[in-house]
C-alpha cells in the first residue's frame, strides 16, 4: 500500500491528469514517458512541486502499474481499438506509424519495472497482433497509399498532453 502522501499524489494525478487522457493506451504511454530511461525513476515536476519528489515518483509508479494491468488484461478487440485511437491521435501517417511500431517496438518501454513476466509477455503479444490487424486493415483499404516510409516529421509530434 502507498504511504499517505504518495496516495494523495496519486489521487491528484489520476483526477487532474489521467482523467484528461481518453484512452488507456495513451495513459500508459504518457506515464511511461515520465520514467527516466537510465534510472527507472519517475519524474513529474508539477506533482513533485506539490507533494515532493519521492511521493510523486511512487504515485507515478503505482499509476503505471495500475494502467499497465488494465491494458494488459484487455481483450484483443479492445487493444486493437485502443491502438487505432492512439495511432490516429498521433497524427502520424498510419503506414509510418505501423512501420515504426512493428520494427522498433517502442511499446516495450511502456512495461513497468516490476511486473510478472507472463503479464508483460501477454501485453507485448497483444500489441504485436493488434499491429498486424491494423496493418491488414490498412492494406484492405482501397485507396491506401504505397507502403514506403514518408519523410520524417519536421518536429516531434506527440498525442500526449503536457505535464502539469
Amino acid at each position: 500500500m502507498l504511504p499517505a502522501d504518495a496516495w494523495e499524489a496519486y489521487e491528484d494525478f489520476r483526477t487532474r491528469t489521467l482523467s484528461r487522457i481518453p484512452s488507456k493506451l495513451e495513459r500508459l504511454v504518457y506515464i511511461a514517458s515520465t520514467r527516466d530511461y537510465n534510472s527507472g525513476i519517475y519524474q513529474h515536476e508539477g506533482l513533485a512541486g506539490r507533494f515532493g519528489k519521492e511521493a510523486a515518483a511512487r504515485a507515478l509508479e503505482y499509476a503505471h502499474g495500475e494502467v499497465f494491468q488494465a491494458v494488459s488484461l484487455l481483450s484483443l478487440r479492445r487493444v486493437t481499438e485502443e491502438l487505432r485511437t492512439y495511432m490516429e491521435s498521433s497524427r502520424e501517417h498510419p503506414t509510418a506509424f505501423l512501420n515504426a511500431w512493428q520494427k522498433l517496438e517502442p511499446y516495450r518501454v511502456a512495461i513497468p519495472l516490476r511486473v510478472d513476466p507472463t503479464i508483460a509477455e501477454l501485453f507485448i503479444s497483444n500489441i504485436k497482433i493488434a499491429l498486424a490487424v491494423l496493418r491488414h486493415r490498412l492494406l484492405e483499404t482501397p485507396d491506401h497509399p504505397p507502403v514506403a516510409l514518408p519523410p520524417p516529421s519536421p518536429a516531434p509530434r506527440s498525442p500526449l498532453p503536457f505535464r502539469n
Binding site: Q69, L73, R114, D116, I119, E121, L122, I129, A132, V133
Partner: protein, 173 residues
C-alpha cells in the same frame, strides 16, 4: 485369488479417484473463498504485479479468437495462433515451476517440522500430483488444438494451484 486381487485393485483406484476429486473440490472452494485472486480496481501488487494466473483469461480467450477470425486474414490468424500457443506453453511452464517451488519449500519445512500433519501432507501431495497431470495434459492439448478451447481446464488448474498455495499458507510455511 485373482478376483480378490482385481477387487482390491478396483477398490484402490476408486478410493484414490474419490480422494483426488474431493481434494480438487476443496482446493477450488478454498480458492473461491479467497476471492479467486481476482483483481479489483485499486488493488495493487506487492512485488511483481498481478500474478501470472491473471493472464489466463487473456491467453485462453476464445473471444479473442473470434475477433481474429472476423478479421479474415490468414497471416494475422497464423500470428495469433502462434503467439497464443507460445504464451500458453510459457504460462504452463511458469505455473509448473511455481508449483515445484512450493513443494520444494514445503519439503524443506516439513523436514524441520515437529508437528507434521499427515492428512495435510497427503492433501498437498494429491493436489500437486493432480496439478502435474493437469498441466501435462494441458500442454499436450495446447499443442494439438490451441489454447482457445481449453480455458475451463486452465482455470481449473489455476484453482488447484491456488488451493496448493492455501494449504501451504494454512500451515504457515
Amino acid at each position: 485369488m485373482e478376483y480378490l486381487l482385481i477387487f482390491t485393485a478396483v477398490a484402490g483406484i476408486v478410493l484414490f479417484v474419490a480422494f483426488f476429486l474431493h481434494s480438487t473440490r476443496e482446493a477450488r472452494e478454498e480458492y473461491q473463498g479467497t476471492g479467486g485472486a481476482k483483481l479489483e480496481p485499486g488493488d495493487f501488487w506487492s512485488d511483481l504485479g498481478p500474478p501470472a494466473s491473471a493472464a489466463v483469461s487473456g491467453i485462453f480467450s476464445s473471444e479473442d479468437e473470434q475477433f481474429i477470425v472476423s478479421e479474415a486474414d490468414e497471416r494475422v490468424s497464423a500470428l495469433f495462433r502462434r503467439e497464443r500457443k507460445r504464451l500458453a506453453l510459457r504460462w504452463i511452464e511458469h505455473q509448473k515451476q511455481e508449483a515445484s517451488g512450493i513443494m520444494s519449500r514445503h519439503r524443506d519445512a516439513s523436514r524441520r517440522a515437529a508437528d507434521l500433519q499427515p492428512a495435510n501432507e497427503v492433501k498437498l501431495f494429491l493436489r500437486y500430483a493432480r496439478l502435474k497431470v493437469t498441466f501435462e495434459f494441458l500442454a499436450v492439448s495446447v499443442w494439438l488444438v490451441g489454447p482457445q478451447r481449453l480455458r475451463g481446464l486452465a482455470e481449473e488448474a489455476n484453482a488447484v494451484f491456488h488451493g496448493m498455495q492455501n494449504v501451504k499458507t494454512l500451515r504457515g510455511n
